[in-house]
Symmetry: C2
Subunit: 352 residues, 2 copies
């Protein structure tokens, strides 16, 4: 048997766990027959569920524990007290080298806190970041940080650019991703000290990605760049804003179709096309968020996800391992390091 | 003649000026027959244009000047050198008490810089802010700051809440507006020091509006509150993101309708309803941004606006005057000031 990789699943995390996790793993296993799964959770519950998926059973191993992290648990509590939780043991297995990635639909804060302490931050990275991807006019783009770092200095932003590019390369399959720094205008004098300093460093270094300078909010949906770099406060606000907007558009559109008999008939005729429109924007396709900058791959699936969404999250973890995300990050960090005069300017301008 | 108010128009500002300004003023004049207009700009051009609108002519007076601020002009240049520009003279007229509001579709930075220096900041307000309003699931909401203040402390955010509520009251016609502070989560421990400190003060003071605590990005489109308060960096990013998203939805929707013969036919049947849907989201209805916290009403119409959009911007200026925005701000500032122990906590927690 030529097993290429092993993925640890927190089988008890998420609103619909554990049944959804097992169903999702079964889907992911069909799509990736060479992947092994370690399922962390209560054997008494997981055993019968796994029994319903004979193909997955051959590729999966249950690691029994009765402890798990709840949505309401404080990250510090989960980290210090729940040392036998399904989430913790799944992360431990990456640390021990048993698996190359962990996927969880559980408590985001706890997942980040435990991952930071157990896996530790990748060499050369000051702070891990959260990234996700979404549809645009042009195709798909990704954005980071999404909330792991509320306040960011120039160095953090530069590292986010490097991490985001590595992600776009492995998950979106873009050989030479374009990267933009979110600002309130495109001129060099715009924005706060941090974005201006980060812009200077990114402009002067030659990476294996293309840095495009400042972008503005409207460029996100337009798909002007493959990777949008911003601090965690802004990134979180922007990402959640797009969720609310999508909801609003749907409400208005449905109201429009209900307006007259003709428009109702029009809706019926256009329904297959409109369903395709919905599918293109289906949030399950863009499930969860990925943690970058850790020694190991950590993927957070959405808490309310279903099996299909969870399978997508597993797929992203597989892409990240195959794409050697952390190695790409390392290579680009070296490019800054090997240009001392650049780094000096950087040290002068950035808030280290 | 019982003229209630006079509005100064920068007749030379905007991509489609001055014809669009005159047409827009004519529309606004029809809707508000008691309003007088001062048109600042080149008489040789404005005279003939005004001649085409006999009704407006009776309500409008041209104030001749040949100087104007271009889109590319630096705010500092416009402020120091272009002292006879149509924009400057229009702002001067508010300062001199000749008019109660100025409306311009010209250079945003110049309009803010000149307004700050000539009109000065309202007593008790540290920094003016930019606000705008937009459609939501529930109706209309407004958001500030939109880019005038890139970095904001707690005191600024508290003042933005007060200014935003006064705006929602006068322009959106909401007797007791709800106000939310944008953050990355709803728990009190979330966010940076500034939002946490502002939250404490806003919670403890009884204003003539309802403070609802922290909100998240998705609450914006959902219309959870009437006023969204945030710093200018985040507000600018969020507002521009919604523009890009709207564009994306349109592109996907059109592509969906073009998918088959049935969906094309469906489109034709549903067209009137879809046009109503578009109209509801028509950016011209939500034209430009308003400056709050100055001694006078300043409205910035969108640079690429048409006559209808400009007339809406004039309508907003009229609502702000009628709603006595600055008086409402003053009243609420007093509510903080008259509670010394509150203010003390505030002083301790906020970055003054």
């Amino acid at each position: 048997m030529t097993t290429e990789m092993t993925i640890a699943l927190d089988a008890m995390g998420g609103d619909n766990a554990p049944a959804m996790i097992i169903d999702g793993a079964a889907t992911a296993s069909r799509q990736n027959p060479n992947v092994q799964f370690l399922l962390f959770g209560n054997e008494e519950v997981l055993g019968p569920l796994l029994g319903g998926h004979p193909r997955l059973s051959k590729k999966a191993e249950i690691r029994h524990t009765t402890e798990f992290v709840s949505t309401g648990d404080k990250p510090s509590h989960a980290l210090r007290r729940l040392t036998q939780s399904s989430m913790r043991l799944a992360i431990d297995s990456v640390h021990l080298g048993e698996s190359q990635a962990v996927v969880s639909a559980g408590n985001t804060g706890a997942l980040m806190a435990i991952s930071k302490v157990i896996l530790k931050t990748q060499e050369g990275i000051d702070r891990p970041a959260m990234i996700s991807y979404f549809p645009t006019v042009r195709g798909e783009s990704s954005m980071l940080d999404l909330g792991a770092n509320i306040e960011c200095n120039a160095k953090n932003l530069v590292q986010f650019a490097i991490m985001g590019a590595a992600f776009a390369r492995s998950v979106l399959g873009i050989e030479r991703p374009t990267v933009g720094l979110l600002n309130v205008g495109s001129e060099e004098i715009k924005g706060n000290e941090e974005v201006r300093a980060a812009n200077q460093v990114l402009k002067k270094t030659i990476f294996d990605f293309e840095y495009c300078g400042f972008i503005e909010g409207n460029n996100i949906g337009e798909g002007s760049v493959d990777v949008v770099v911003t601090d965690g406060f802004t990134g979180n606000a922007v990402l959640k804003t797009t969720e609310g907007m999508a909801k609003m558009f749907k409400v208005y559109l449905i109201a429009a179709f209900k307006r007259s008999l003709a428009s109702r008939l029009g809706y019926l005729l256009a329904k297959p096309a409109l369903d395709a429109f919905s599918a293109k924007l289906d949030p399950r396709q863009y499930d969860g968020a990925m943690f970058l900058g850790l020694n190991g791959v950590v993927v957070k699936s959405h808490g309310s996800t279903d099996a299909e969404g969870f399978a997508n999250a597993v797929g992203v973890a597989i892409d990240m391992i195959k794409g050697e995300v952390n190695e790409r990050i390392h290579v680009n960090l070296e490019l800054i390091g090997s240009q001392p005069e650049q780094y000096e300017t950087f040290a002068q301008t950035a808030l280290m």
